[in-house]
Amino acid sequence: MAAETLLERITDYANRSDPYPLYAELREAGRVVRQEDGSYLVGTYHEISALLHDPRFSADPRNLTAPPEGAPKPPFLRLDDPEHHRLRTLAMRPFGPPHSPGRIDAMRGEITEVTDELLDGLRDRAQIDVVDDFAYPLPVTVICRLLGVPREDEPLFREWSNAIVASADVRPEDKDSIEQDRAGDQARIEMGQYLVNLAEQRRGHPTGDMLSAFVNEPDPAMLLTREELAETAVLLLIAGHETTVNLIANGVLTLLRRPDQLDRLRREPDLLPRAVEELLRYEPPVHMRERIPLADVEIAGTSIAKGTSTVLALASGNRDPKRFHEPDRFDPTRPDNEHLGFGSGIHLCYGAPLARVEAQAALGALIPHLGTAYLLQDPPPYRYAAMLRGPRHLPIEMQQPWPC
């Protein structure tokens, strides 16, 4: 056994560009694999799915370690029912059914416009960075409009977001993590304050965005407290732009590596929605989630003690040959593709409908122009985070500028 645990190797930045052989090793090692620090790692589809649905597994990090004094309460992503359900339901009111059905679908036109504007600006460029020029600005612009955050403040919240993502990353505990956690908490407080201030400006003057809806809710029983509004808005802004960027960039990377599939999607654009689902399986934006059992739990013959960190490698479950036929093949026509790209269970991705529309619009607009493009760097440089995995830059050569 190597001195390094699998979790250390998976989170090691040197392995960021291709963690999939490590996931295969993880699945070989067993269904529930104990790490040297006592935590558990789960990489097989059926066990991950079972744990994501098991009401005895908590998403609340406070069941692992007591939070430092003054740390903000976790957002609903990391709370359990019934509190999770209450906050997610309130957050859903201006976003989706049953209160706002059709809201995201109605944004298709607007999202396509943003996409076209971005592409227009790239028309005469021989080289582009798919991340900085396209995959990042698109979801940021969309989530800013949806929430009601000024787009020009992006440099401001990007820094907070970076600190929060770094502190929330899955990694073995070490001395750096305490410092990172502190920086992350501080960023969450500042970003929350910023977003609450924006919301307050809209009290009595709603501007059609979600922050306006939150502060102008007429039913007092449906109002978020100031703290809940801060946590929820921070969660939505970060989740809204730190994940879809990976999905779009991973999509371009995957298709440029497979010219046959790129060509097929150009000829059969109706396949795009299924191609996006396959991307969510094959190269998901979120690779891992952490859960903590609230009781001693036996799973796949292994007993996990109450309060033990259990990391679910969703991206590994997506490549489990016991669930998916030829899992390492990218197949936009794959049947029965119930992937874990959006998780599963009560925390199933809140923003999934928006991510789908964005990825479909982005790839649909880009694909016709990628016929002669090629990757300038393969593998590309990756972002540091292991949990939210995606290219930091994706430079490509267009060879010939596209026709108008």
Binding site: P55, R56, D80, P82, A295, S344, G345, L348
Partner: protein
């Protein structure tokens, strides 16, 4: 051998969900022979769940619920044609016009029909409906849109409750009569039926339990005016829906010597029909509501289901087995699941709630109208029903599949104190209900006398 089975003549009798999915699956499995689908309704396959929900609410028209096709099954569709008989020796399906269709393998997917109001003269009154088909739904929706004074729903099962819910959402006065102690009691047992009764009453339904309708009354012009109830009271209503459960469409098989009866056509786990002596056939297959099949998780008793998901899953297994040789055949092992939406609640179930002696609230609470109810039989989990907690269902499905002990072990973050206290499940004998059960254990023997029916004429 396998090659032979991919060719030849297959006839599917029944052109609804199970028939369509089987036809698609046969082609998906590589069947290249001739395929004929017979349906007594004149329409291509359509979806029925919206008929008691969106259609009655006026959100969609009854003729817009056509089922999307996964692929063109390249079939000869004989729609608007009733199958009236089966000759299993000569291998022919007899059609109403006298024509007969020869087959090498047959799939019976004739489903069910609405149990009619038993008095034909009263049933013929203008304003009296049943709800099963597209035409039923179109007629009822039109009548509801016209704004009747009061709608009487006879039977508080799922269909009756959904109709009542749609009426209230449209602002219509509605009375529901149920012979049993509460709505949904036959399917969900005592505890959740009390929640169902509260939902009816809180939403303004005039709910009358423990009573039956003894007569429907009409005016001189044949129009419904109301109903007499067994407690001596009278309900004035200009629309009445008899929601009395379903009748299996097996009469056409009466002379075929198969194990067909009021509970359906019995088959093995591979969807092959039994004959009346309990001998399994190898050329007559069955899928969907008309089938009655053994399930290992429920003591191998023969199950009768009226579930959308079962029709799909069983049709796919039947199709696979129709074109596969013995060792390559698959069993139909899918767990029963069903859903209903009514009074703003999403009710979803897995397993067989009627196979239970106790229940326990495992998550949430009745007061919040958000609950997971787990059903146990002799110390193991046999079913779970969620109210507005459908995302929790897969966990309990896993417990059923692994015969986990009942009550479920503690540890859920939202586990209520009530989770420590199992109570009797109180599932009544279906004979005492107005509504038939949509899931029923029907015993072990395919050749029981009760499965023999006489032709009605």
């Amino acid at each position: 051998m396998a090659g032979d089975r991919r060719d030849g003549r297959i006839v599917i009798v029944g052109a609804s969900l199970a028939g369509l999915r089987a036809a698609e699956a046969l082609r998906e499995e590589g069947f290249t022979g001739s395929l004929t689908v017979v349906g007594d309704e004149p329409y291509p396959p359509y979806d029925r769940p919206p008929l008691s929900k969106q259609v009655l609410l006026g959100h969609v028209a009854a003729d817009t619920t056509g089922l999307p096709m996964r692929r063109d099954p390249d079939a000869d569709w004989r729609l608007g044609v009733r199958a009236t008989g089966l000759d299993p020796v000569d291998k022919r399906v007899v059609l109403a016009e006298g024509e007969s269709l020869p087959y090498d393998r047959l799939l019976v997917a004739t489903g069910t029909r609405a149990r009619p109001w038993p008095n034909p003269r009263e049933a013929a009154l203008d304003g009296v409906f049943t709800l099963r088909t597209r035409d039923d739904a179109a007629g009822l929706a039109e009548r509801l849109a016209a704004g009747p004074q009061r709608v009487l729903v006879i039977g508080g099962g799922f269909t009756g409750s959904e109709i009542a819910s749609a009426c209230r959402e449209r602002g219509l006065e509605v009375t529901v009569t149920e012979r049993g102690p509460a709505p949904l009691v036959g399917a969900l047992g005592g505890t959740l039926s009390k929640l169902a009764a509260a939902m009816h009453r809180n939403n303004g339904v005039d709910l009358r339990c423990g009573v039956t309708v003894t007569a429907l009354r009409g005016d001189g012009n044949g129009r419904l005016t109301g109903a007499d109830l067994s407690d001596g009271s009278r309900v004035e209503a200009d629309v009445c829906v008899a929601a009395l459960g379903a009748v299996r469409n097996v009469e056409w098989l009466a002379e075929a010597g198969l194990a067909a009866g009021p509970r359906g056509l019995a088959c093995d786990a591979g969807c092959r029909a039994f004959d009346m002596y309990g001998i399994v056939t190898d050329d007559v297959f069955v899928a969907g509501d008309v089938s009655r099949f053994p399930h290992p998780l429920f003591e191998y008793q023969l199950l009768s289901l009226e579930h959308w998901g079962n029709a799909v899953a069983q049709a796919e297994v039947a199709a696979h087995n129709m074109v596969s040789a013995g060792p390559l055949r698959r069993p139909h092992l899918a767990l029963p699941t069903f859903w209903s939406t009514q009074f703003g609640l999403n009710i979803k179930a897995v397993g067989v709630p009627t196979l239970s002696d106790h229940v326990v609230i495992a998550q949430g609470s009745l007061e919040e109208r958000r609950v997971v109810m787990v059903y146990g039989y002799r110390g193991r989990v046999t079913a779970a029903v969620t109210v507005d907690m459908a995302k929790s269902l897969p966990y309990y499905q896993h417990l059923i599949e692994t015969a986990a002990p009942f009550p479920p072990v503690p540890g859920a973050a939202d586990r209520p104190i009530a989770a420590e206290i199992p109570v009797p499940s109180d599932v009544p004998d279906p004979k005492g209900l107005s509504h038939g059960p949509t899931v029923a254990l029907t015993g072990h023997l395919p050749d029981r006398r009760l499965t023999v029916v006489q032709p009605t004429s």
